[in-house]
């Protein structure tokens, strides 16, 4: 059988199982071929491509501004962050200045969406480990964020709100008050999450010491974002290469400490995300407090024709570093666009860290990497 080839020497006692593309724990359409002996997984081979939409090729056929809605579909649970990453790449190519108010709005939106994305992680991770209730809690709180986004952009999933040069429209009246309201409501909920999942003995038993990703391996594979920070490396582009004025804000970069098991285990990756939600709340509050007045759109031509050249711009997305490599040949369309996503690199490390664990652990490890299929396949 063709599909079994990547698995080396299948013994008589071994069982080859195809986990996915339709499996409750593969979060979308992803396929993992497992070679197991009893419950122990000897080899994991991810198969990608079920969601391939040729986004990079599409980018070569549309104008710079027209590609923005496609970035919404890149990581649809963090569409604002994807918008922002692409907008920054084109802005750098064009040399556009973004007004300060737009920068603050971008920070608010990006951090709100980071919380929404981590909430989905929290919700589905509970489900992966057999806890059914966190799912509803996570989605309940996410509604509040989606309501805010709906106020600002009219959309609830694919916003297309952050534009090249600024944001689509200024914040609607009442947005700031509602955002404060949300923060006041949300922070106590985070303590509730800790009670139902984080501090649960069974949950710790299922995640601590499981699927250890050491820092050097994470760096070798190019793993970024919360997965890298879970391995104890304090690398955050918001801190190390500040953009959108992130350097004006006071926030911590949470890293894994191996409190429950070993450094870089599933629990560390999980708890880094939980702490990041708290930090995002701090960031949003600061940005709302100091929101300046002024225009929300820089000076951008209707049809953008950047000078020939190339840029690589990366942003800190909920799922790691999202980088856009753009080559312009002076026309209105990109000559080439390469998208570097955090999910893809996170998935590439899975065979390495899931080897030798049990079937149930593969779900725990895969869930803790927080991979999303449309970002893997593009």
């Amino acid at each position: 059988m063709e599909e079994l080839r990547p698995l080396d020497d299948i013994g008589e006692e071994d069982l080859v199982i195809s986990m996915g593309p339709q499996h409750p724990s593969t979060h979308g359409v992803l396929r993992l071929v497992l070679k197991t002996r009893g419950e122990v997984v000897l080899q994991v081979t991810p198969h990608v491509g079920y969601l391939h939409r040729a986004l990079e090729k599409i980018a070569e056929r549309v104008n710079y501004a027209q590609f923005m809605p496609y970035t919404d579909r890149l990581d649809y649970v963090a569409a604002m962050n994807c918008n922002l990453a692409y907008a920054r790449a084109v802005e750098k190519l064009l040399g556009v200045e973004v007004p300060p108010r737009a920068d603050f709005i971008r920070v608010i939106m990006a951090e709100l969406n980071r919380i929404a994305s981590h909430l989905i992680f929290f919700a589905t991770y509970g489900l992966d480990l057999g806890s059914l209730t966190p799912f509803f809690y996570g989605f309940r709180e996410r509604e509040g964020i989606l309501d805010l986004f709906e106020m600002a952009s009219g959309m609830r999933l694919t916003y297309n709100y952050i534009k090249i040069g600024g944001v689509w429209k200024d914040l609607p009246p009442g947005f700031v008050d509602k955002a404060y309201e949300f923060l006041d409501y949300f922070l106590p909920r985070l303590d509730e999450y800790d009670r139902i999942l984080t501090d649960n003995k069974i949950f710790i038993g299922r995640t601590a010491g499981i699927g250890i990703l050491p820092a050097d391996m994470a760096i070798e594979y190019g793993v970024t974002g919360p997965n890298l920070r879970g391995a104890g490396v304090a690398w955050d582009i918001r801190k190390d290469e500040p953009y959108c004025g992130y350097d004006q804000f006071d926030f911590e970069v949470p890293v894994g400490k191996g409190e429950m098991g070993k450094l870089g285990d599933c629990w560390d990756r999980y708890v880094v995300r939980m702490q990041e939600m708290r930090e995002s709340c701090r960031l949003i509050r600061q940005a709302l407090d100091r929101l300046p007045d002024g225009p929300t759109m820089g000076r951008v031509a209707r049809v953008m024709r950047p000078k020939a050249g190339e840029v690589y711009v990366r942003s800190e997305n909920p799922r790691g570093e999202l980088g856009f490599f753009l080559i312009s040949n002076g026309s209105a369309k990109p000559y080439r666009l390469k998208i570097r996503t955090g999910s893809f690199t996170a998935l590439s490390v899975l065979p390495e860290i899931a080897k030798g664990w049990m079937v149930a652990d593969v779900c725990a490890i895969f869930g803790s990497l927080d991979v999303i299929s449309p970002e893997v396949d593009r």
Partner: protein, 346 residues
């Protein structure tokens, strides 16, 4: 049971049919009664589980079907399941695939024959009652293995393997805990075990001494594993094994597994109430509440706790489950057995 038939049911209806035939008819009627009881209980539990889970998860659950809080939802579900297409996969072992759900349901059903609901409300007061129950309920594991094997599906097979290992291991601590009660009551008959707990809440075996309290805890957790409920629902862990041993089942055959699971939930709760919580005796010495109602309320509370746990806790891993069973529950169950026996002797 024969005495019950001969003394109460037989006299008024004798003469209509030959005696041997009449006996069979009465037997079937009684079996139908038990089945109706289980069916009603399961219908109620599916509704209750939806409501409990909904309120834990800040939802409402079914609200429309039938008017008052969706009380007819289980009936609607039942009709839906009955009218669904009955699929037997092409690669399946047809005979085993068809037989398995009946075996699982049969074992769940047979347990009720020996369960007394009150001092005078029982079908069969077997002098080996509790061992009959232990034996017959293990038969369900065979059905689950059959289902997993016959489905010819790798997920089903993994689920069945887990289930077999789990049920067989958890029989041991559960049996030891039951033995603790048997030692104190010095009887295997469920009726006599309850009679030994008469006379107020402090006479219940759970409060008899610290060892029986421990035994109750182990019995309750072990029975969760036996009926495949969260946090021990490895055999049907949907996030790992899709749906475990019943992945390939649909329609009525799936609903038979479902029926058996809920019937088992009630059965282990009833057994726990009978063995440890004073059976049909209320907490006060002389109360006017009917015994069967008291017993069912106690069992309902335990079923509620099962649902509560299911929607609060994550799932254990299969090796952690075995660890808990053999290295924690079995030694503790031995401790409670020996401790309770010594206290009884002294």
């Amino acid at each position: 049971m024969l005495t019950l038939i001969k003394e109460i049911i037989y006299p008024p209806v004798s003469g209509f049919l030959p005696e041997s035939l009449l006996l069979i008819v009465i037997m079937f009627a009684l079996a139908g009664l038990v089945f109706a009881f289980i069916l009603l209980a399961v219908l109620f539990f599916t509704w209750m589980e939806r409501k409990v889970s909904a309120h834990i998860q800040s939802r409402l659950g079914p609200m429309y079907t039938g008017g008052w809080h969706g009380w007819m939802q289980p009936l609607a579900d039942g009709i839906k399941l009955l009218t669904k297409e009955d699929i037997v996969p092409a690669g399946a072992d047809r005979a085993l695939f068809i037989l398995a759900p009946f075996l699982v349901l049969g074992s769940a059903f047979a347990v009720y024959v020996a369960l007394p609901l009150g001092g005078r409300l029982f079908l069969a007061d077997l002098n080996i009652g509790i061992y009959y129950i232990l034996a017959i309920s293990s038969l369900g594991a065979v059905g689950i293995i059959m289902a997993g094997w016959a489905s010819n599906n790798k997920w089903s097979l993994l689920g069945a393997m887990r289930s077999a290992a789990q049920i067989v291991s958890y029989e041991v601590p559960v049996a030891l805990c039951i033995l603790t009660v048997v030692v104190i009551a010095s009887s295997l008959s469920l009726r006599e075990i309850v009679e030994a707990q008469a006379g107020g809440i402090y006479r219940w075996f759970i409060f008899r001494n610290p060892f029986t309290f421990l035994a109750f805890g182990i019995y309750f957790l072990g029975s969760l594993a036996e009926v495949n409920r969260n946090p021990f629902d490895m055999s049907e862990a949907e996030s790992e094994l899709v749906a475990g041993f019943h992945t390939e089942y649909s329609g009525i055959r799936f609903s038979l597994f479902f029926l058996a699971e809920y019937a088992n939930m009630l059965a282990v709760s009833l057994i726990a109430a009978i063995l440890f919580l004073g059976g049909w005796y209320g907490p006060l010495v002389d109360s006017e509440i009917p015994g069967a109602l008291v017993l069912i309320l106690k069992a309902l509370f335990l079923v509620f706790v099962q649902m509560w746990l299911r929607f609060t806790l994550p799932r254990l891993r299969v090796d952690q489950l075995m660890h808990v069973c053999w290295k924690v529950f079995v030694p503790l169950a031995f401790l409670s057995l020996i401790g309770a026996s010594v206290l009884e002797l002294v």
